[in-house]
């Protein structure tokens, strides 16, 4: 069927380098010697570990529990023993460590008991939660938790569901092979998304350099009697970017400040649909993914790889040439050199490219920008990279935002076409992370200010309350004293003037028995003070903490020791509110 396609501005056509790795079918990668499974493999909250060193785990067993709604669970990729839950180096450009569960496989690859999820009879809410528990995340590279994208907007009706099979980056062929070999399961997975989102149309976009994949998908759609449209899109990098594919297939442009659901569109990767179907129909959480091994190797091929497999070990399957000097995760346009060959394959790893100077010749040195505008013509988001470059370079971050730096998807088209070989994307990444850091600092400062002001307010209020209480107590005391004096005067003196005088002025104004009255008043005051002290003492004794009574004898001994030391340092029973003497000494 013919369909009117739209176009996005810009784009580049780098050599695709895809044919090397599509000649052989998908193979199963062997079990590695050990698996390092990072807990934080998706956008959002860091999952909490639920296993500890020494635990036996089965394949598919939960090892990291999702933390919050935007977060996805992590599972053991094979059966074995947990060696440790510790910090390990991550497949991240920083080369920093993060929490990982290290598993030593027992070789049996034994599944935990699992069964299909009866999704036909389940509420949409339950399906979303099940997908979260199964660790289904966007496998196109962004690893956004899929369940978070499966809630239709309440205000805008869902028009189109876009399925991304474009795979525009050079070298990567894992989605291509997945569609060729497992089209039926992909289409069934798309069916789940369709049921949850209820779109009017489902469009599957596949770049026209993958005719076999498109044919397989079409056959699967027909075989299952679905009404999905398989649309070949022109091969042009970055047609596989979610925003670009949505633009090509629907003509809608998603601004940075909005989500695509606000425009009635949602986009998923084909591999995500596949894993969603495996989770629903077989109860299998995401424990493996397809990874293309390519680049400077003898035998490029696609493998089904367990999450947590060390990249160096995996790359050996493709027999890298001896001059290989690094591993690129992702494609040559948006990928990065991993900091260490030990880093594990994660859910975001779609491709590993053996790096060598032969296939990626070192870039010639950066030259000054000549403002030729080639970057602006190549930018798929119609930005002005040369302007953003100036301001990023000058660290004028406010201006970069005026030029919409946050619309940049870091696709690398501008760096690719730059005749001066300026690493433009690096400048934009630098500017973006600086802006984020500043935003974080500002937020922290605002919170601190708010809390400081509240504390001051509270202290003022407490002071006022205390003063008021004291004033009240003093007034009550004075009234009591006066009343007692009046009573005493009335009892001892017969002078009617004294009895008739107002209570408040009775004591000082009576001439008849001033000495006796004052004496009585003082006696009463003394008695009141003694009574108050007794009360306070009783209260203090009653308020003794009881947490030392059930301690072990050793701990009690420690407590006694500490008490003895404190007594020696005259720390015991300090007056409430006054700091003990040694504290002030130490302050100096």
């Amino acid at each position: 069927m013919l369909m009117n396609l739209f176009k996005f501005k810009g784009g580049v056509k780098p050599p695709t380098n895809k044919t090397q790795s599509v000649t052989l079918p998908i193979a199963q990668a062997p079990l590695p010697s050990r698996l390092v499974v990072p807990l934080h493999q998706s956008i959002g909250g860091v999952p909490q570990p639920v296993v500890q060193a020494g635990d036996k785990v089965l394949k598919g067993q939960l090892i990291g529990e999702a933390d919050g709604w935007i977060s996805a669970a992590v599972h053991a990729p094979t059966s074995g023993t947990v060696l440790e839950v510790a910090m390990h180096v991550q497949p991240h450009p920083s080369g920093l460590d993060a929490m990982c569960v290290v598993i030593e496989p027992d070789g049996k690859d034994e599944w935990i008991a699992h069964q299909p999820f009866d999704y036909a009879n389940a509420a949409p809410e339950a399906v979303r939660e099940y997908l979260q528990q199964s660790g289904v995340v966007g496998l196109g590279g962004a690893v956004f938790p899929t369940h978070g994208k499966l809630t239709p907007s309440k205000t805008v009706p869902m028009e189109e569901l876009v399925i991304n099979g474009a795979e525009c980056e050079p070298f990567i062929t894992c989605d291509d092979l997945l569609m060729r070999e497992r089209a039926e399961e992909v289409v069934r997975g798309i069916g789940i998304f369709r049921d949850l989102l209820q779109p009017k149309k489902v469009l599957i976009g596949i770049e026209d350099n993958k005719p076999e994949a498109a044919a397989a998908m079409r056959a699967a759609v027909d075989a299952l009697g679905e009404a999905f449209l398989v649309v070949p899109v022109p091969t042009l990098y970055p047609a596989g970017g979610a925003k670009q594919l949505i633009r090509v297939l629907t003509g809608k442009e998603v601004p940075a400040s909005k989500r695509s659901t606000d425009l009635g569109v949602q986009c998923f990767n084909v591999a995500t649909a596949y894993t969603a179907w495996r989770a629903i129909a077989h109860g299998e959480p995401v424990v493996s993914r397809l990874v293309t091994l390519s680049g400077n190797v003898h035998a490029p091929r696609n493998y089904e790889v367990l999450i947590g497999t060390p990249m160096g070990e995996l790359l050996q399957l493709a027999q890298p040439h001896p001059d290989t000097d690094g591993i690129v995760m992702g494609g040559p346009m948006m990928g990065f050199l991993v900091p260490d060959a030990k880093v594990p394959v994660v859910k975001a790893t779609n491709c590993l490219i053996a790096h060598s100077d032969r296939i990626f010749p070192p870039k010639a040195p950066e030259m000054p920008c000549i403002r030729c505008g080639a970057c602006a013509q190549a930018c798929p988001h119609e930005l002005q990279p040369f302007e953003m470059y100036w301001f990023s370079r000058a660290k004028n971050f406010g201006k970069t935002q005026e030029y919409h730096i946050f619309d940049c998807i870091e696709c690398g088209c501008c760096s690719f076409v730059c005749p001066s070989r300026i690493p433009l994307v690096q400048y934009f990444r630098f500017a973006k992370s600086e802006i984020w850091a500043r935003e974080r600092e500002k937020k922290a400062a605002d919170t601190a200010k708010e809390r400081f002001e509240f504390k001051q307010l509270r202290e003022e209020r407490e002071k006022a309350e205390k003063a008021e209480k004291l004033a009240k107590a003093a007034a009550a005391q004075a009234a009591k004293k006066a009343a007692e004096a009046a009573a005493a005067a009335a009892a001892e003196s017969t002078a009617p003037a004294a009895a008739a005088a107002p209570a408040g002025e009775a004591a000082p104004s009576t001439d008849a028995a001033p000495a006796v009255a004052v004496d009585a008043a003082q006696e009463a005051k003394k008695a009141a003070i003694a009574a108050a002290m007794a009360r306070a003492k009783a209260q203090r004794e009653a308020a003794q903490p009881k947490n030392t009574e059930v301690l072990s004898s050793a701990a009690q001994h420690d407590v006694a020791d500490i008490e003895a030391r404190r007594a020696a340092a005259h720390l015991t029973d300090p007056e409430p509110g006054t700091p003990p003497a040694p504290a002030s000494e130490k302050a100096e």
Binding site: E366, R429, S433, D446, A448, K449, K455, N547, A583
Partner: protein, 186 residues
């Protein structure tokens, strides 16, 4: 006659304009000093008192009244730079050592539950009660070190917040300068 008319016109103009200005000064009156607010927005709000003032706002007021701008160690050299830009003053080197962003940590085994640090914390980032163990709410701690002096058992320490994946930043691209190939004289 002409001169009287001219004087009258000028006087009328003065009255009208004066009335306008008077009205404007009431109508568009700005409460408080906006400069102090701007200065305060640059200060890091740690409320640490290392500048010698009891909090960031008093220091902001002092700066507006002519005090030096280089007394805020948590703000760092960058803070001095921004204050200088705002106030049109000269950048001065920081009056104290610049410290990395830090967080306080209570050694809970040593804590005796005296509540003195709780009273000292300017942002209420310590939880605990009398004779109960105290602990720091790390995300709220500004690392101001005000809890250190009151602690009678020295169980609080300040640790710098290291770089992790969440706060890691892309570095400024550095242009590599390679030594030019030495040309042999023919």
């Amino acid at each position: 006659m002409d001169i009287l008319l001219a004087i009258a016109i000028m006087a009328l103009g003065a009255v009208v304009l004066g009335a306008l200005l008077g009205f404007a000064s009431i109508k568009f009156k700005v409460e408080g000093d906006p400069l102090i607010e701007k200065i305060e927005a640059i200060l890091p709000q740690t409320q640490c008192g290392q500048c010698g003032y009891p909090g960031c706002k008093p220091y902001a007021e002092a700066i507006a009244n002519g005090d030096e701008i280089n007394k805020c160690p948590p703000g760092g050299t960058e803070g001095v730079q921004r204050l200088a830009d705002l106030l049109g003053r000269e950048v001065k080197p920081l009056d104290a050592e610049e410290k990395p962003k830090s967080v306080a940590i209570i050694d809970e085994n040593t804590c005796i539950g005296c509540t003195l640090c709780i009273q000292a914390c300017p942002v209420d980032a310590i939880v605990g009660a009398a004779k109960q163990m105290h602990t720091i709410i790390a995300p709220l701690c500004t690392g101001c070190e005000l809890c250190l002096p009151p602690c009678p058992v020295e169980c609080i320490r300040i640790e710098p917040i290291g770089e992790n994946i969440d706060n890691w930043k892309w570095k400024y691209p550095v242009v590599e300068i390679k030594a030019a190939a030495t040309q042999k004289a023919a």
